[in-house]
Amino acid sequence: MSSPNYSKIGLSFFSTRPPWRLGKVASKLAIYILALIVLTVLMIPIAWMISTSLKPTADIFEIPLRWIPTTITLENFSSQFNDILRRIFLNSVIVGIATIVLSTFSGALSAYAIARYRFWGTSSLLLFFLASMAFPIPLIMVSMYILFVKVGLLDTYAALVLGHTVVTLPVVVWLLKNFFDSLPIEVEEAAFMEGAGPFYTFFFVVLPMSKPAVVAAAIFVFVTSWNEFMFGLIFITSNELRPLPVGISMYFLTQFDSAWSQMMAVAIIVTAPILVLFLVFQKSFTHGVTAGAVKG
């Protein structure tokens, strides 16, 4: 056997077995610097958003652009958090919470049924749920629209909640089904022995054990609902009921053509609830919003 080619390893900056210590320190340092550069570049838009939102209007139109405002002001926030914004903000909160209830509840039930009672067609059902995440939404929307007009649901929160449930339910089922699969079945068997029916077992035995997964699912549902744009644009026609993203694109973007500091304040207000969710439930959050992709 020939001896390993050390010169080659030494040349490689990231090698884990460099022949001399200095190389190791240098490569570690290089990785840190690179990671910091990447982070900075990715964060520039967010930093700029925050910086702009704190500026008095005059600062925005100053060249060269300045990162630090001449005076830091919260004016933009207080002036923009007005009745319209409060209203559409509230609309999105209501729709988001209602969607959490409907989507998580019905999703959890059927995920449990799929996980525990393997009946005919289970796997094709799961495949259908998975596939439906990719379906062309405008195609489905046309028939939903016709249906909602017929039954008088158009321009109600219910139309939005149903729309948002349709796009989130498959992910909820997928996420929770995987979690229920990992639960030990013995606990449920014990409950059955004690005479508990399937629904009782589900609500009082299984659900309490599944808190982290249910939280992850609920967060995913809320974030998706908060983000959703297309349904909001069409299923709601009266101004008071519009969800946040649609409301902003309709009132705020057209109203202030160049009031960018105000716009950035609005943008931060829209992001805030999601950021809070992220900071509080970091683990379930990451799990929830990346679900459905990794499990395939």
């Binding site: 520039i44 990719a134 992709a293």
Partner: protein
């Protein structure tokens, strides 16, 4: 137990899906009193329509480049964070914050960054000497496409990074150690070991994100409304506008049906490739 979910999925997904396919052979429209069969007329129209061709081309270009760019960058960051540095968790969480930014905020934010007079991007590019004079990003075809692509890429990077990082960490340490003892440097290990091992995951990742981006409409709607001259008109926005601007349900359904058909085709192809790769 299955009743609530099945009622929702059956009534609001499966039925609309089939009804949509049925409608694609009609001239359905809320503006017309009577609906009748038109056979393949809608499809024939689409295949001859220049606008539709442009929309397909622009969608594929915008979504394809965003997906590939974000996959490459996200994977590279994952490699960086997987090299055993301390604080990788911090970097991961910090970068992930980009993923939580709502679409509408991304639209407003990139609109501001790409502002022609006071936008940060023109400013930086001019300071670096890359640009001589400010570009009017949103009002020229290719710059407008670049705007949308950067927005999509920026938003997709964290997702690509988080999932690739999880996959990288699942590669057995012994394989990497054996390789470096054999004299494989970092880049060789990436090219000859990591990428072949992760080929399936990377492919699935790209597909998932591409499908998700195809469904989004917020960014082009708010930033450019599809313009200038349809350069940023993506397929979902085009279908949406056919249905709810022109109220031509038949034609919109035809586009949706074609879209569904392509999805099924793609799914079949990728499943075959995936199972061949695993064998």
């Amino acid at each position: 137990m299955m009743v609530p979910a099945m009622a929702i999925m059956g009534g609001l997904v499966l039925f609309p899906l089939f009804n949509g396919i049925r409608m694609s052979f009609t001239n359905a429209s809320p503006l017309k009193p009577d609906t009748h069969w038109v056979g393949l007329e809608n499809f024939a129209y689409l295949f001859e329509d220049r606008e539709f061709g442009e929309v397909i081309y622009n969608s594929v270009f915008i979504i394809g480049s965003s997906t590939i760019l974000s996959l490459v960058i996200g994977f590279a960051i994952a490699l960086l964070l997987n090299s055993g540095i301390r604080g990788a968790g911090f970097f991961r969480a910090a970068i992930f914050q980009v993923w939580i930014v709502p679409w509408i905020v991304i639209a407003i934010l990139w609109g501001w960054l790409y502002n022609s007079d006071f936008g940060l991007i023109n400013h930086i590019l001019m300071q670096l000497g890359i640009l001589r004079e400010p570009v009017n990003w949103l009002f020229n075809e290719i710059p407008a496409q670049i705007t949308i692509i950067t927005g999509y890429t920026w938003r997709s990077i964290p997702f690509m990074m988080v999932v690739s990082l999880a996959a990288l960490q699942s590669i057995p340490k012994e394989i990497m150690e054996a390789a470096s003892i054999d004299g494989a440097g970092f880049f060789r290990r990436v090219v000859y070991i990591i990428i072949p091992l992760m080929r399936n995951i990377l492919m699935v990742l790209a597909l998932v994100q591409a499908v998700r981006l195809i469904q989004d409409m917020t960014l082009p709607w708010v930033l450019t409304h599809g313009g200038p001259i349809n350069s940023t008109m993506t397929i979902s926005m085009y279908t949406f506008k056919l249905a709810f601007d022109s109220w031509d349900f038949g034609l919109a359904s035809a586009v949706g049906t074609l879209w569904l058909f392509v999805l099924i085709l793609l799914a079949a192809i990728s499943m075959r490739t995936l199972s061949r790769n695993t064998n």
